[in-house]
C-alpha cells in the first residue's frame, strides 16, 4: 500500500511543474484514438478520392492565384499534421502513453495509410460524428469549412454565381452530389482545380454569361470542329488532373440527376471516357488559352460533353443561342433520338422536359464525335423529332426562333440532316478573307492576265453600250476600270511624333523592314580589272545596248504611270503624274535627239532600238515626234541601204506614218526637204526610197497628206512659198518615178487613191502620162 501510494505519487497526473506539459497531452491521445477507430472502422464513409490526389499536400495549387492559395495552404497543413499524429498514434500500440515510440516505428507505414484516409479525416473531423452522413450534415460541414476558407465559397462559381435558380435546394440528392463534388475538390489541399477564384479572364468571362446572352463574333470554326484538338494542343494535361476528374465522374455516375441540377440538362452521364477526356480539356486549356479561344473551348466542350468539370461554370454549359458554330440545334437531334435514351437509361427523362432538349442536343453533339457507327446507322432526317414541346423553358425559345429564321437551311436539313453546319456568317467570313487576300497594290504585276481580261471585257461592254445608243455616265469614264486602285489614296505614312522625346517611334514593319545588313552595296568593281583587250567596238556596242535598255525602262515607267492615271479618277493625282510623265518624255527626247546623228543611226541599226523609237514616237509631243521623223528621213537612204532585204524598218512604219498624217504643210515640206538629194549623192533618196517598202510607204503617205492638205485648205490659206516647194518636190519625185524601172518599185503598205489625184493636181499631163503606170503602184493594192 505504501508502495502503491509512492508510485502513484510519482506518476501523479497532477503535476504542478509547468515545465512538464507532456503528461496532460498523453491523456488526450487515447480519446482521439477511439475516434480513429471509429473513423477507420467499417462504418467509415468510403474514400472519395484516389491516393494520387494527396500526393503532395503541401504543393500549392498551380491553377490558383497566389493570394487565394495562401489561405488554403495553411489549414490543410495543420490538418495533415494533426492527422499524421493521429494515425501514428493509432497505429502504435493501444497504449497511447507512448506516442513517441509509436511515432518512430510505423511512420513510413502510417504515411501511406493516412494519406488515403485524409479526406475522411477532414470531413467528419470537426464534428466527430461517424457513420453515414446526411446531406445536411455535409452541407453544414462544408459551410463550416467554408468559414475557414472564406474565399472559396463566394468565389465558387457554382455556388455564388449561377443564378439562384440553379442552386439546388438543400436536401435534394443533387445537393448532396454537389457537396460531395465540392468536397472532393476541396479535399486535395492546396488544390482547387475547379474553382479558380478569379484565375483568368478567360475563365471568368464565361461565368459572366447569362443564358440568353450571345457570345461574341464567329468563333473560328476550325477551333470548334476539332473538338479534340485543344486536348492535343495543350500539353499540360497531367495524370493528376486526369484523375482529378474521376471522382467527380463517379459522383456523376452515382447520383441520380434530379431536376434541381444547376447545370440544365447537360448532366446526362455519358460514358466515362467522355468525361475523362473531357475534363483535362476543360481544366488546363481554360487556363492557358486566350479568353477568346477559351470561349470557343467552352462552346466546344459544352457541346461535346454533357458535363464539363465542375469548375467550368454551368451556365456556360448550356448551349447558348449563338448561331455561329452550332447553328443546328435541332438537326443533330434526329439521328440520336434512338440511341441516347438507350445507353443512358440513368438519365432522368422524367425531369427531361425542361432539360431534355438541352440534354439531347449536346448529348448528340457529344455523341457525334464518338459514335461513328451510330451515324452510319441513322441518316434519316430528324423530322418531327425536333419539335418537342418545351412550354416552360424560356431558354428554348432562342433555339426555336433561330430555327425558324433559316428556311432555306431547313430545306437542306430535311434532305441531309447535317447540312447547314456552316452558317452564312461563317461563309461570309471566309469570303471576306479571300477578298482581302486578293487585294493588291499592283494588279498588273500580281495578276496581269486577269486584270487585262477584265479591262477588255469592260471595254467591250462599254463599246456595246455605246453602239446600242445607251449613254451611260460611267461609260464616258475611262477611269475606275481597276476598282481596287481607286482606294490607293493613302498619304505616305507618317508615324506619330512626340514632342520632347528622345528619338522617334519605330516604323519598321513587315512591308518595310529595318535594314540590318547592307548586302550587295560593296560589289567589287571588276570592271576596272577587266583587261583592255576588249575592243572599242564591243564596248561601244555594249554601251549602246545599255542605253537602249535604259530607254526601255523609262518607257515602261511611262506605261505604268499611264495605267495608273487611267484608273484614278482623282484630278488631284493627274497633274502630279503628268509632271512625271513629262519629265520622262524629256529624257527620251534627249536620249534620242541631242546626240549626234551617228548615235541615232546606231540606235536605229539595232532592232531593239528601232522598236524603242517606234514605241516612243506616239508618246512624244508633236514637235518632238516630227523631229524624230525628220531624222529618220534624213538618214533614210542610209537606212534603207543597210536594211536591204530585211524590211526591219517596217517596225517604224506605223508611228512614222501617223506623224506624217498629222503634220501640216510646213512639216511636210520639211520632210520632203530631207528627202532631197544632198550634193554628192548621185542617187536620189527618193529613188532609193521607193525601192524599199518603208520608203515607198513614207513617200506615199507624204503625197497622200499633201493631197489631203491641198484639198482641205483653200489656196489662199496655204503659204505660197511652202506650196511651191512642195510642188517642186512632187515634180522631182514624179521625174524619178519615171526613171526608175517598174520592177524595182515596191508597193507601199497603204495605198491611197489620193496620190494620183495629187499628181493630177500638181503635175502637167505629160508627166502624168509618163508615170501613170507607176502611180498605180501607189494607188492600187497589190494584186500579185
Amino acid at each position: 500500500d505504501f508502495m502503491e501510494q509512492n508510485i502513484s505519487h510519482i506518476v501523479d497526473d497532477e503535476i504542478d511543474d509547468p515545465a512538464i506539459v507532456n503528461a496532460s497531452r498523453s491523456r488526450d491521445i487515447p480519446r482521439k484514438t477511439q475516434n480513429l477507430d471509429d473513423i477507420f472502422g467499417p462504418s467509415s464513409p468510403p474514400a472519395l478520392l484516389d491516393t494520387e490526389h494527396l500526393v503532395s499536400p503541401s504543393s500549392k495549387n498551380i491553377w490558383g492565384s497566389p493570394i487565394k492559395d495562401s489561405h488554403l495552404s495553411q489549414p490543410p497543413v495543420n490538418n495533415l499534421q494533426t492527422l499524421f499524429d493521429f494515425a501514428k498514434a493509432a497505429s502504435s500500440s493501444p497504449h497511447p502513453q507512448m506516442p513517441s515510440a509509436g511515432r518512430n516505428i510505423p511512420s513510413p507505414v502510417v504515411k501511406g495509410k493516412t494519406l488515403e484516409e485524409l479526406e475522411e479525416q477532414l470531413l467528419p473531423k470537426q464534428k466527430g460524428t461517424s457513420g453515414p452522413i446526411t446531406a445536411e450534415e455535409l452541407e453544414r460541414q462544408m459551410r463550416g469549412e467554408d468559414q475557414r476558407v472564406p474565399q472559396m465559397a463566394p468565389r465558387d462559381p457554382r455556388f455564388s454565381h449561377p443564378p439562384p435558380g440553379y442552386f439546388p435546394p438543400p436536401g435534394s440528392p443533387a445537393a448532396r452530389y454537389l457537396q460531395q463534388a465540392s468536397q472532393a475538390q476541396r479535399v486535395p489541399p492546396g488544390r482547387s482545380p475547379y474553382q479558380p477564384p478569379v484565375i483568368s479572364d478567360g475563365r471568368r468571362s464565361p461565368l459572366a454569361y447569362v443564358p440568353g446572352s450571345t457570345p461574341p463574333g464567329p468563333v473560328p470554326p476550325h477551333l470548334l470542329d476539332g473538338r479534340r484538338s485543344p486536348v492535343g494542343v495543350i500539353p499540360g494535361t497531367t495524370p493528376p488532373s486526369h484523375n482529378r476528374s474521376s471522382p467527380i465522374m463517379m459522383i456523376h455516375g452515382q447520383s441520380p440527376l434530379a431536376g434541381g441540377m444547376p447545370h440544365p440538362g447537360r448532366t446526362t452521364p455519358s460514358p466515362p471516357p467522355v468525361m475523362l477526356s473531357g475534363s483535362p480539356m476543360g481544366v488546363p486549356p481554360a487556363r492557358l488559352m486566350s479568353p477568346y479561344a477559351n470561349r470557343a473551348m467552352i462552346h466546344a466542350m459544352g457541346n461535346r460533353m454533357p458535363t464539363p468539370p465542375m469548375g467550368i461554370p454551368r451556365p456556360m454549359g448550356q448551349r447558348p443561342p449563338n448561331h455561329s458554330p452550332y447553328s443546328h440545334p435541332p438537326p443533330p437531334h434526329g439521328p440520336y433520338d434512338g440511341p441516347p435514351p438507350g445507353p443512358h437509361h440513368q438519365s432522368p427523362h422524367s425531369h427531361g422536359s425542361p432539360y431534355g432538349h438541352h440534354m439531347n442536343g449536346p448529348h448528340r453533339g457529344g455523341n457525334r464525335g464518338l459514335h461513328h457507327n451510330g451515324e452510319s446507322r441513322d441518316y434519316r432526317p430528324p423530322g418531327e423529332h425536333q419539335h418537342r414541346p418545351y412550354p416552360g423553358d424560356h431558354q428554348h425559345r432562342p433555339y426555336r426562333r433561330y430555327y425558324r429564321f433559316n428556311e432555306e437551311e431547313d430545306r437542306k436539313r430535311s434532305i441531309d440532316g447535317y447540312a447547314g453546319l456552316m452558317t452564312q456568317k461563317e461563309k461570309d467570313w471566309i469570303v471576306k478573307i479571300q477578298l482581302i487576300q486578293l487585294q493588291s497594290d499592283n494588279p498588273y504585276l500580281d495578276d496581269y492576265y486577269y486584270t487585262t481580261f477584265t479591262l477588255k471585257k469592260k471595254a467591250e461592254e462599254r463599246k456595246r453600250r455605246q453602239e446600242n445608243g445607251i449613254f451611260d455616265e460611267k461609260d464616258s469614264e475611262l477611269n475606275l476600270i481597276i476598282p481596287a486602285m481607286a482606294k490607293l489614296e493613302t498619304r505616305p505614312y507618317k508615324p506619330a511624333q512626340f514632342e520632347g522625346s528622345l528619338g522617334r517611334l519605330t516604323t519598321s514593319s513587315v512591308h518595310n523592314p529595318r535594314q540590318i545588313i547592307d548586302v550587295g552595296s560593296d560589289i567589287p568593281h571588276t570592271d576596272d580589272a577587266e583587261p583592255q583587250c576588249v575592243s572599242k567596238e564591243l564596248r561601244r556596242s555594249r554601251q549602246l545596248l545599255m542605253e537602249i535598255e535604259k530607254g526601255y525602262n523609262l518607257l515602261l515607267d511611262v506605261d505604268d504611270i499611264d495605267k495608273k492615271m487611267l484608273a484614278l479618277p482623282d484630278d488631284a493625282r493627274k497633274p502630279l503624274f503628268e509632271d512625271r510623265k513629262n519629265m520622262l518624255s524629256d529624257l527620251y527626247k534627249y536620249l534620242l535627239c541631242t546626240h549626234r546623228n551617228e548615235h541615232f543611226l546606231s540606235i536605229l541599226s539595232i532592232r531593239k532600238g528601232r522598236k524603242l523609237i517606234s514605241r516612243v514616237l506616239p508618246l512624244l509631243e508633236k514637235r518632238q515626234s516630227e523631229d524624230i521623223v525628220l531624222k529618220i528621213l534624213k538618214n533614210l537612204q542610209y537606212l534603207i541601204k543597210k536594211d536591204s532585204g530585211e524590211e526591219g524598218l517596217m517596225v517604224l512604219h506605223d508611228p512614222v506614218i501617223l506623224v506624217i498624217e498629222n503634220s501640216d504643210l510646213e512639216a511636210l515640206v520639211k520632210f520632203s526637204d530631207e528627202l532631197k538629194e544632198t550634193g554628192q549623192n548621185q542617187t536620189k533618196a527618193t529613188a532609193v526610197a521607193i525601192q524599199n517598202k518603208f520608203g515607198s510607204s513614207v513617200i506615199c503617205s507624204l503625197l497622200h497628206r499633201g493631197e489631203v492638205i491641198h484639198s482641205q485648205s483653200s489656196p489662199l490659206d496655204m503659204d505660197s512659198e511652202l506650196e511651191s516647194v512642195w510642188c517642186q518636190f512632187v515634180h522631182d519625185f514624179a521625174g524619178i518615178l519615171a526613171v526608175v524601172p517598174t520592177e524595182s518599185l515596191v508597193h507601199p503598205k497603204h495605198h491611197h487613191q489620193t496620190v494620183s489625184e495629187h499628181f493630177d493636181r500638181l503635175l502637167n499631163k505629160k508627166l502624168i502620162a509618163l508615170i501613170e503606170d507607176k502611180v498605180k503602184l501607189f494607188t492600187e493594192s497589190q494584186t500579185s
Partner: protein
C-alpha cells in the same frame, strides 16, 4: 453568288458530296461540311475508297478534318451516276489484300530498277517523299 469571279472557292462545295484526293494517295469521299481560309476541310460521313485495278473497296471513316495543304484535288460526285461506275466493289478485306499485293509488286519493281541502275553506275532514283504527289 460568287463574290470572286475568276477564282476558285470552296464555299460552293459545301454540303456536297465530294471526292478528295490527298497527298499520300488516299481517296476520301464525303460531304463537305465546313472549310476555312486555308482550305482545311471537314468531311462528314467519309469513306475511304481504295482502288486496285478495276476493283475498289470502301472503308467507312466517319468525320475527317483534313489540313488544307494535304489536298491534291477535290471534285463533286455525281450522285445520280454514282452507282453506274465501271468499277466493281469488293469487300474491304479483299481490297486491302489486293492493295498489299500491289504495294509489294511496286516495291519489287523499285528494287529491280534500283539494282539495274546501280549496275550501270547510276544513282538510283531516290524516293525521298512520303507523299505520292
Amino acid at each position: 453568288m460568287n463574290y470572286l469571279p475568276g477564282t476558285a472557292s470552296l464555299i460552293e462545295e459545301i454540303d456536297k458530296k465530294l471526292l478528295v484526293v490527298l497527298r499520300d494517295g488516299r481517296t476520301l469521299i464525303g460531304y463537305l461540311r465546313s472549310i476555312d481560309q486555308f482550305a482545311n476541310l471537314v468531311l462528314h460521313r467519309t469513306i475511304e475508297r481504295i482502288h486496285v485495278g478495276d476493283k475498289y473497296g470502301d472503308i467507312p471513316r466517319g468525320i475527317f478534318v483534313v489540313r488544307g495543304e494535304n489536298v491534291v484535288l477535290l471534285g463533286e460526285i455525281d450522285t445520280e451516276n454514282e452507282d453506274k461506275l465501271p468499277l466493281k466493289e469488293v469487300p474491304i478485306d479483299d481490297i486491302l489484300e489486293m492493295q498489299r499485293e500491289e504495294q509489294i509488286q511496286k516495291q519489287q519493281e523499285e528494287e529491280r530498277k534500283k539494282k539495274s541502275m546501280l549496275e550501270r553506275g547510276l544513282q538510283p532514283h531516290s524516293e525521298l517523299h512520303d507523299d505520292l504527289y
